[in-house]
Symmetry: C2
Subunit: 343 residues, 2 copies
């Protein structure tokens, strides 16, 4: 029990140090530091009497644990790195929100990064993430640079890919088929007898998932013997982009438009109104995302709802599971078609 007396410690003032450490708590509670550590990590493994004393000491001293030291000693930190293309995108901000909520309940902390759809940027973020000995690395999609895959493999980190599947997943993956989403819209258009259609896409070169939805739509239409073409803009999906896209589509009019996402669909609907086109009589419109406003547009927007929360939940579970274990490495969360008035 001979704890070092800090007051006569010659080095005490060398750097700014933590005021109350685990040793201080241990001393106050008359136990060893390892007992405090144990109590903090598995309270049930400590006797009730000792536990109470430790809790008391923590309370009165105002002890704040040092996760940095803990992470170093344990060789793995309580950090989960979450990387998404963009946080402005409602899909991803919802996923991150929910994920952060679930993880923080397990005292895991979320380190966010956004790539703006750049794989090089993703590589940089992964490199930084690995420097934190993270409990897990969560990535969006399955397209990564070779270096990224290499870095991840060599680090042995627990990896989860989300929102999409790849042929060769790195660790676990959680998502759904975006190609099927596109087909689903095409099927609906076909069933309504609209005839010709167009896909109004944004940033398709970079956004692999939007590109898959577009391809699924085109494939679906063609399989049904319907004509369909692709119109796209390079910039981010936005209401303004939607308006532009409809103008482009109307250069060679179609009866139905499937959009990159609901934001684009909103722009398409505004532009249709400006042009005096009635939806759905003159033009059918479908979106993707079932964003908050989708049920409020006039008419309400027909769209596809991706299960952002279910993705977050499954990802959280995958993170908790770790790389090993016999749980399925691939979780298909499905999506739901939301038929409303616009198509």
């Amino acid at each position: 029990m001979t704890e070092p007396d800090r007051s006569d410690h010659p080095e005490r003032r060398r750097r700014k140090m933590q005021s109350v450490t685990m040793s201080d708590v241990a001393r106050a509670a008359q136990v060893s530091p390892s007992t405090v550590s144990l109590y903090l990590r598995k309270p049930e493994a400590v006797s009730e009497r000792v536990g109470a004393r430790v809790a008391d000491a923590i309370e009165t001293l105002g002890y704040v644990p040092n996760f940095v030291a803990g992470g170093l000693a344990a060789a793995t930190s309580r950090v989960v790195s979450v990387t998404v293309p963009s946080l402005r995108n409602a899909f991803f901000s919802e996923t991150v929100t929910e994920l952060e909520r679930l993880l923080s309940g397990r005292s895991l902390h979320t380190l966010v990064g956004h790539t703006e759809y750049s794989l090089e940027q993703e590589e940089r973020l992964v490199r930084a993430a690995l420097s934190w000995s993270p409990a897990a690395v969560v990535l969006t999609g399955h397209t990564h640079t070779d270096t990224t895959r290499d870095l991840l493999a060599r680090s042995g980190a627990s990896v989860v890919e989300m929102w999409d599947f790849g042929p060769d997943p790195i660790g676990r993956s959680v998502g759904f088929s975006h190609h099927a989403v596109g087909r689903c819209i095409a099927d609906h258009f076909a069933s309504q007898g609209y005839g010709s259609g167009a896909f109004a896409g944004a940033r398709l070169t970079e956004d692999a998932r939007a590109a898959q939805r577009a391809q699924g739509f085109l494939d679906g239409m063609r399989d049904r013997g319907l004509s369909a073409r692709l119109v796209e803009v390079a910039g981010p999906a936005s209401t303004g982009a939607g308006a532009d896209l409809l103008s482009r589509v109307m250069e060679d009019p179609v009866r139905a438009v499937a959009c990159s996402n609901d934001t684009v669909a909103l722009g398409v609907m505004f532009e249709a109104a400006r042009r005096g086109l009635r939806v759905p009589q003159d033009l059918a419109v479908a979106g993707f995302g079932d964003l908050e406003f989708a049920a409020q547009t006039i008419p309400p927007l027909t769209t596809v709802r991706p299960p952002a929360k279910r993705i977050a939940a499954a990802v959280a579970e995958a993170v908790l599971l770790g790389p090993d274990g016999d749980a399925p490495r691939r979780v298909d969360v499905k999506f739901a078609f939301c038929r409303r008035g616009s198509a």
Copy 2:
């Protein structure tokens, strides 16, 4: 290229450890670990020859630095904790995005947390944040629990409050007057001679900034001798909430409605259309946020643009500045009124 021989390390198999450490790099580069460390932190302080050798060793060994160990040794980590009420809210997702971008350029990593407008939740997040010996803690608003303030004060962490000012800022603060925003809308309504008005608010009890905008609006209207009332819903600001709010407002019709934010305004406009009310002839509508879709609505939405990016930039600067120094502790970033067709 002499690979480190770890096999003779008796403890090597105790736990999963880092494969390539700084010592390995040092050995490969024929220098001491301190030199490698120095090179990594200030390359210019190391001779060119040695620097090149170290860089080589890092490259060939594939060394990934360990920030956890670094943070422990330095007593301050490269983590910045950023806490916002909600990430689904476009204002905050934009701020976080921009902040993360700016900080990552300085190799600072963003730990996000969201409070759902709960101060208790904020306290929990701050407690967790402090466990990381963060380079800075960024908070939204100036209302915190006593414990939060206490924790922050005792830790000596660098604190930045954003989006709003308080009478007693903890560290630095960056924001603008939300009360002035409300007044600004009221002034505009008055100048247009609309007469009576209403504020359509969401979650005003928890969202202190929205409440201030409401109060500013009410004060502004009254100062001009105009009648104005407050209509509010408890849930989050959304398009659906906007529609509900307009229904409530029309129980006792007014000529002009100021909204909690643009999302609510969008709902108000949709509901107005459903009711056959022409905007702005029958009803003037103003929002807050200048969200992406604001310029696309029919008619385009009159709103107020908060400088989300400027906030992020000023916060990043404050983070870099640290708590000391003679730079002003309080930065007022202003806002811009966007007159468009709806009011």
